[in-house]
Symmetry: C2
Subunit: 156 residues, 2 copies
DNA sequence: TTCGGGACCGAACGATCGTTAGGCTAATCC
DNA sequence: GGATTAGCCTAACGATCGTTCGGTCCCGAA
């Protein structure tokens, strides 16, 4: 396909970016929807990380736009996207907050930092993850480390 | 300064990228050198994260090249840079390995994953950290979460 | 004081990019 | 079967990019 041919499907390059950005938002939100809102929070965190990494690996192009390239959106669209992205991050944060409130996670947990670290790790993966990787297994390693930490019980 | 004027300082755009990439590697390695190789590993991990985030915040342009833009290096230079970058990551990993071997960190710690999560969080910061941010305090929050985890002692 | 050289400007080059327009082909509809 | 149309190609446009070149300005060495 030649570059000019793309314009029988889109109006402009900016429109295309916008469509892919929305597609990305939908993909990540939909993946997160598959996480039940009942049951042990620990399991749900693991499921959320699995869902996120699966989208990254299986829809790398779209994920790249959702994670990085959205910066080139302009005006109202950019504002709209940022709100949508914040909502996604908030869903992660809510998971950690709920875990703390239910007593499944430590009472002094900083849920903002937890969401930041979890999503940073998961987002950064778009720079190196390639299709066919064992994303579930990777998500589980992330989860184990984030839940129990590096220090372990011995030191307390 | 006009764009043409840059060429009295550099040979080509690729050369400039290469120089900045090397400058970035030096900045991060030098920052890491300030971390003592004695003393509690926990403190050294905190210091390493502080050092990294400080470089990101204070030399954002250079850090961006070290973290992301190096991908556009070509040929031998790219290979050389990748090796240098791997060495940097290895220094972090060594810290976690040492902590485990000295018994300061959990005996079943996966130091590879630990280094990946720590550096992912620290690297991702280049996308949102701005000059003037409280980087030390941020590094400390990362460290606290990574060391003790979200679950806490209550669950074991 | 002169003079050489480094730093920058201004204009231009070829290449690439986003976009448009016109035309060909093949499937789809009445 | 003929007309329509969706999907792609080709060629060209203006804009921008990386780069070159000749010229101007200014500083420091001789």
């Amino acid at each position: 396909m030649q570059k000019g041919s793309v314009y029988s499907h889109i109006e402009s390059k900016a429109d295309l970016l916008w469509e892919v950005a929305r597609e990305g938002a939908e993909a990540f939100h939909t993946a997160l929807d598959s996480v039940p809102d009942e049951g042990p929070v620990v399991d749900r965190i693991r499921a959320a990380l699995r869902a996120h990494l699966r989208v990254v690996a299986e829809q790398l192009d779209i994920a790249t736009v959702f994670i990085r390239e959205w910066r080139y959106l302009e005006g109202e669209r950019r504002a709209q996207f940022v709100a949508e992205r914040r909502r996604y991050e908030e869903r992660f944060r809510a998971l950690f907050r709920e875990g703390r409130e239910l007593g499944e996670l430590r009472t002094d947990l900083d849920d903002g930092t937890a969401a930041l670290v979890a999503l940073s790790s998961a987002n950064w993966a778009y720079t190196w993850l390639r299709l066919g990787a064992e994303t579930d297994e990777l998500a589980d390693r992330f989860t184990a480390l984030l839940l129990d930490g590096m220090r372990g019980y011995a030191s307390r």
